[in-house]
Symmetry: D2
Subunit: 279 residues, 4 copies
């Protein structure tokens, strides 16, 4: 008995659930959990189905499903292999450490294949935990050159996702396009508040009583990609920028790890600039 | 086009979702939202399906569903009528006021048919908002007599639920049985902590840093019924019992109203001593 | 034995706490709670002191304190009288109802003297709870005329604060100046995100996973006054604008009431565009 | 200019703040933050004062303070040295890893001198991060013997606190007495709910909608020591015991680290079975 996760996205129409479940029953698959959502604005149907059963021919199941769905349907069959990821960092340790610790104790839901950093600050730490660290400085280089060096490393590994764990360089449109839908970033503010640089300084100056963090897929609109998770935490007048940063880091790592967990379990669909998250 | 909510609960077996959705398709019903859950411990399947369509004969749909489900299946078809409720109170206003205000502005999702109190404290306020208030004192009476007076009032109205909005008398096993699965209570602690009387005093003496509240269905095990919602809020060393009570009341009303909202939208199944809540 | 709250704000310098406590001791006042804060950016000292004692001559205490403090010090002695407030509304009931219910049961910490609305929607409800409602339409009038009618009503009562409980008109600079530091507003978003109109629509379109609300003092920078309290709540892809509004209203009323509670207990200092809140 | 933290605890009486601040002024110390609290039940006064200044003779300051305070006053002068700690573990990594990572990057506010475990599971990981790990099995030994081996190790280092980071053995009254007020534990439930073993199994069986964790000082009443911090997180019907454990571990580490942070900054007083926490 195997477990299989089926992800389907297609134009909405009457009878989709019936059609899909009939195909699964025909293949002797037993549905153990099913979630669906219709985006009324875009008339799009999304479903995530977890089933068990002996699946002789996955290709045939996919074909059968496509036959019974509208033309532009996308069907994804995922068996239980873990995702592989690359992590990009600059100097801050808190998100990277959380990822590497969970990787070390096999609770990340993915395998960290490599860490790439534009400084050497986190090299020793990463290597202590047995993960290769590639130092690629951005200094004295064109962005294209910098990114091409990074890509060369990433492409040595077959990674499913690239995690920006406080990577403080803005990626070019070309880079983002090459890994479309595969780059996850943690932004150090509750978007869309405090877009851009120094969000904690902005927060301090505005005198807010809450700070937050946002994990999102990266698109070519800076800080504007589809949001996966957000959390906030209270601050007060005694918090200077330093205290906000310290408190914010705890939120950042929690938000990023929650997003990664959802993504690695195939619970997140991207629909335009939004996400559908089947928790 | 009508909206219809279908609730089904039955022993789990392979193919239930397929069977159910095929029946719905056969009746030209379109599924707009579907949630299901299998309680592995008790091998029980639960589903809540929201559909639209012209349903000529509801009885026939129910019959068809039962034909395609295991023997002991329970099927409930709910069209969009609002629930009717009775509210029982003692002296504290905060939960009652929240219910009556939402009732007044038609955002409760139910109609308050009457308020019954064992003191007169909340009579004027209730009547100002146009709801009949019945004063039934418990003093100098056997519990059976007290409860029989309450039942007589409740039974004048066809109520779907009885809400104990800080009603401070313990109901007898007979009363509870008469309204099985229909009585919702707000308990002024984070159950199972501080069961019984004076939970805020207990909390103060224990020096906890969090207090909470619990909305649950009432069964014959005091403070032990199936929990629908719970929330907590932080307290600190500056909170005496009085401040905990004040802060706790805000949580109590929020927790109770969240539970009522879920119950009135038919999102809550009871399974043994637990609930399944399809948010 | 009376209770007295002393609020002091002055340029920071060495020895302030000592000077202040010596004066209090000289007047036989016993400090029961003391909070202080130094805004390092503006080199300003803030303290809130709660004391008990027989205070023969309050004017003399104030004089003594001023003698022992830097030149531009502001000293406020507050005995335990409740604040009086006016509430301005448009059509939404949720914040007003929360205020009027707490006013009715004497747990607001202030007395509502009047409600002024630019529609008649909330008139009946307000009057049922025994509070005078003044209907002042903004239609077919210059803003100056509209505001002058409002001022005439407010000025009949000696109010300490004006609460904008979902009052959907922008007040002129003149009006705001006339009641400087006395106007409290609830903004239906987590500022500075979604400044301006239709924040829930903006939130829906951005696909955020959290919405919030902000209570702030009103200044002449729209949505930019000193923030008193903020809270957020989670939303997901199933929330349309309508569901966000519904969920947001619960946060709005909680945030506004928390802010009012702090303000009515004299726990909030305004310092430039920020607040110091001694919880 | 040095920073100095002064902690005072004594029977309450009129004029304490004045007396204390006068002594500090006499020593040319400048108060930068001061918090006080009176436990009305036990008539005890607590204060935490942060000051700056050149302190020639600390012993003299302490003497002066004691002269001006009630007889049984306790005065603690703390200059800015970091605390040293020992960490006790069994097999679970999540709390230990959080401590060691923060230790590694100098953001713990304390130095981890050693880790002691009754299994070898966490040895390699601890040593990778450069901290000595002592394996002391409890098997085939009297408790007295087991604890004496642990004590021998702890006493090689001058530790200020012993952190039980999911150490699953119950310590004897003698051991606890030897390190009175110095042992901090993380309990995997929201105390006082689910005292004892397997709290997540208990939580699952009760069908709660919230789980939590509690950091507390250890006393000889198991799970009954003074609570420092608590947090909760929502769960629902889809959570089995395994999912509750997974979610609970995130709360456990957050709660423990928040408590340690407060303790290492000398913000926590113990008063009987409660704590006063000056955040």
């Amino acid at each position: 008995m195997n477990e299989l996760t089926i992800l389907i996205q297609c134009p909405d129409q009457v009878g989709l659930v019936t059609n899909i479940t009939r195909v699964l029953a025909g293949q002797q698959l037993n549905i153990i959990a099913m979630r669906e959502f219709v985006d009324e604005q875009h008339k799009t149907f999304f479903t995530r189905i977890a089933c068990t059963g002996e699946l002789a021919e996955p290709a045939k199941l996919k074909e059968k499903l496509l036959e019974n769905l509208p033309n532009s349907a996308e069907v994804n069959l995922i068996s239980q292999q873990e995702k592989n990821i690359a992590v990009l960092v600059t100097k801050e340790y808190h998100c990277l450490a959380e990822i590497l610790i969970k990787n070390q104790f096999k609770t990340l839901g993915a395998n960290v294949k490599c860490v790439i950093g534009n400084y050497e600050a986190l090299k020793d730490f990463t290597e202590k935990l047995g993960i290769p660290y590639y130092y690629v400085s951005h200094e004295g280089k064109e962005k294209a050159q910098f990114e091409s060096e990074i890509k060369e490393i990433i492409d040595q590994f077959e990674v499913d996702y690239i995690v920006l764990a406080k990577f403080m360089r803005i990626l070019s449109a070309d880079f983002v396009k090459d890994y479309e839908g595969k780059i996850v970033n943690i932004h150090h503010s509750f978007l869309p508040a405090f877009i851009g640089a120094n969000p904690y300084k902005q927060a301090f100056e505005r005198g807010v009583k809450i700070i937050g963090a946002t994990a999102h897929f990266v698109t070519n609109n800076l800080d504007e990609g589809p949001i996966v998770t957000q959390h906030t935490t209270h601050v007060d007048h005694t918090f200077g920028v330093k205290e906000m940063v310290r408190s914010g880091k705890e939120i950042e790592k929690a938000v990023l790890l929650e997003a990664l967990n959802l993504i690695f379990e195939d619970r997140v669909f991207v629909s335009g600039n939004k996400t559908i998250v089947f928790k």
